[in-house]
């Protein structure tokens, strides 16, 4: 119950600042442009994509770009979650309330995830609109949507944790971006290596796991990767807030 109260408040508060609206509008606008480009390219030169269907080109391409756009925007959404409470001291309200820290962190997390799911619903309307004119591969579409949802949840969890480390939202945003970009591209570090190093850098790469989903493949290893990211970040966040009581801040 407490979690729902905190999540609801966080969700509603997001819409009180222009930031959420701007993010919704920008993401929608950029993705609409990309969607239009992908679609018109496919329509003009179908020969280029011999043997590949609309879903594989347009839908998969669309969700791949959406993943990258979210990598860029999530830090701005999550930066305030905890850092601002630390800066203004309003965290004291939460810490002096009869709320367990786990409930507090989960509430904040779920409030932001709810917002992300709205964003997911809005952008997914674009590929869904193809239903009007053609037959989509619903299996691949569902995998891509699930992949984006998992990516959003993981980025939010990381952003939440990083936000609890700093007193300034801008620093939290920068650090979140640095961390998520590092994970996103970690496979590049392993391009010239083989064996264990390559395996680790490939496994860590968010892009690799995400692309499996957009390609229409549901692999439990990819699913576990995102789940691990979320769990680790949330646990670290709980641990960090708990430690605030013993440290000076």
């Amino acid at each position: 119950m407490m979690i729902a109260a905190i999540a609801g408040f966080e969700f509603r508060r997001l819409f009180l600042s222009p930031l959420a609206w701007i993010v919704l509008a920008t993401v929608q606008f950029i993705l609409a442009l990309l969607f239009y480009m992908l679609l018109s390219q496919y329509l003009q030169q179908p020969a280029l994509y011999s043997g590949l269907g609309l879903t594989e080109i347009v839908v998969a391409g669309f969700y791949q770009s959406a993943g990258f756009i979210l990598l860029l925007t999530t830090p701005f959404l999550t930066m305030r979650l905890i850092s601002e409470e630390l800066r203004t001291g309003s965290i004291r309200l939460l810490l002096s309330s009869p709320v367990a820290i786990t409930q507090l962190v989960l509430g904040k997390y779920l409030g932001m995830v709810l917002f992300m799911l709205c964003l997911l619903g809005m952008v997914s309307l674009m590929p869904l609109s193809l239903m009007l004119g053609t037959q989509l591969d619903y299996g691949q579409f569902a995998a891509a949507v699930l992949g984006l949802a998992l990516l959003m949840c993981s980025l939010t969890a990381i952003g939440l944790f990083v936000s609890s480390l700093f007193h300034h939202p801008a620093i939290a945003a920068t650090a979140t971006f640095a961390l998520t970009l590092l994970l996103w591209t970690s496979h590049i570090a392993g391009t010239n290596s083989t064996g264990a190093v390559a395996a680790v850098t490939n496994y860590l790469s968010t892009l690799r796991h995400y692309n499996n989903f957009t390609g229409g493949m549901f692999n439990s290893a990819d699913f576990a990767y995102f789940l691990l990211l979320m769990l680790t970040s949330i646990l670290l966040c709980i641990w960090r807030i708990d430690s605030l009581r013993t440290h000076h801040w």
Partner: protein, 316 residues
């Protein structure tokens, strides 16, 4: 009012690294008592308040609220607790109603009762008609009221107020003090302040803190007038050549000349003594022109206790 102990603090210490913010503090607060923590900046008041409310953990020692340990058993303890930190924990982008609804839910009030609690706390804090105003647009005084409304919304047994009147103008200070005095009827209140008049005005009991320790813990009544000693300051137009006659009065222990024909008479605390002195002065035609009874005030006590090593201001 039952004498049940609501707050019990035992041997509390807190270190920030090697620096000691509070050291071995123990006290208890009964139901319906307003206790004031008085002390210079950096005496450790805010740290103490935060530890009592479970925001900071103590390095050693324990705090229990209504019988629940704040660290072992935090949820039931915090249910009995309202806290106004030094900076009110507000969300400036919310309206007063939105904020108080959220606080009510956070404090564990049932959804069906939230609306009623919000209305009652707004009414108590003089916020009727402010429900739809944005907190960020309110004046400092009203923001402080919202902060207090938040602390009492769940009618906790204990309310902790950290510098409730800082940054307010004199009218607002008077209003907030009245509010606190009102609240003191139903709740136990701990407040911190560095304003003497405030403690004198609203508290039943004063604890003076200095450099992380409680150096004085007294019922306010005993500081004002009911002590063993009082001072009477007199001024004469034609002072007697010898003060023997004054010394011979029953209860007078010492007389100290202050210059300009003024004298400070140390004497037993006896309300009739002032009129005896006036009578003696009139009978001897000393031209009595001033007579002020002066008990050892809170201010003097405070200065005596905290001045010795003042200037060591590390920030709370």
């Amino acid at each position: 009012m039952s004498n049940k102990i609501l707050i019990e603090v035992r041997n509390l210490s807190r270190f920030y690294g090697a620096r000691c913010a509070i050291e071995d503090i123990s006290f208890s607060v009964n139901r319906g008592e307003i206790s004031g923590f008085l002390g210079p900046n950096g005496a450790g008041k805010s740290t103490l308040m935060q530890i009592i409310c479970g925001v900071l953990a103590a390095t050693s020692g324990s705090v229990s609220i209504a019988g629940h340990d704040i660290l072992e058993d935090p949820v039931p303890a915090k249910r009995q607790l309202g806290y106004l930190p030094e900076q009110p924990p507000l969300y400036p982008d919310c309206t007063v109603d939105e904020y108080l609804y959220y606080c009510a839910r956070l404090r564990g009030i049932k959804r069906s009762q939230v609306s009623g609690s919000v209305d009652i706390s707004k009414q108590k804090c003089g916020l009727d008609g402010f429900g739809r105003r944005l907190i960020g647009n309110l004046s400092k005084g009203y923001q402080q009221r919202v902060g207090i409304a938040q602390a009492l919304i769940h009618t906790p047994a204990v309310i902790v107020l950290d510098e409730p009147s800082s940054g307010l103008d004199p009218n607002q200070i008077i209003e907030i003090r009245e509010l606190i005095r009102d609240m003191g009827r139903d709740h136990s209140i701990i407040l911190s302040t560095h304003i003497m008049a405030e403690a004198q005005n609203i508290c039943d009991r004063v604890l003076i803190m200095h450099q992380g320790r409680v150096v004085l813990d007294k019922e306010l009544g005993s500081l004002q007038g009911t002590g063993d000693q009082q001072y009477i300051i007199v001024a004469f137009n034609e002072p007697p050549a010898s003060l023997d006659q004054l010394y011979s009065l029953d209860g007078v222990t010492n007389i100290h000349a202050l210059g300009n024909n003024r004298f400070r008479i140390s004497c037993r605390n006896d309300p009739s003594l002032a009129s005896v002195i006036a009578g003696t002065a009139a009978a001897n035609r000393w031209g009595l022109c001033e007579l002020v009874a002066e008990s050892e005030s809170l201010e003097q006590t405070y200065l005596k206790l905290t001045r010795a090593t003042a200037g060591d201001d590390n920030g709370a």
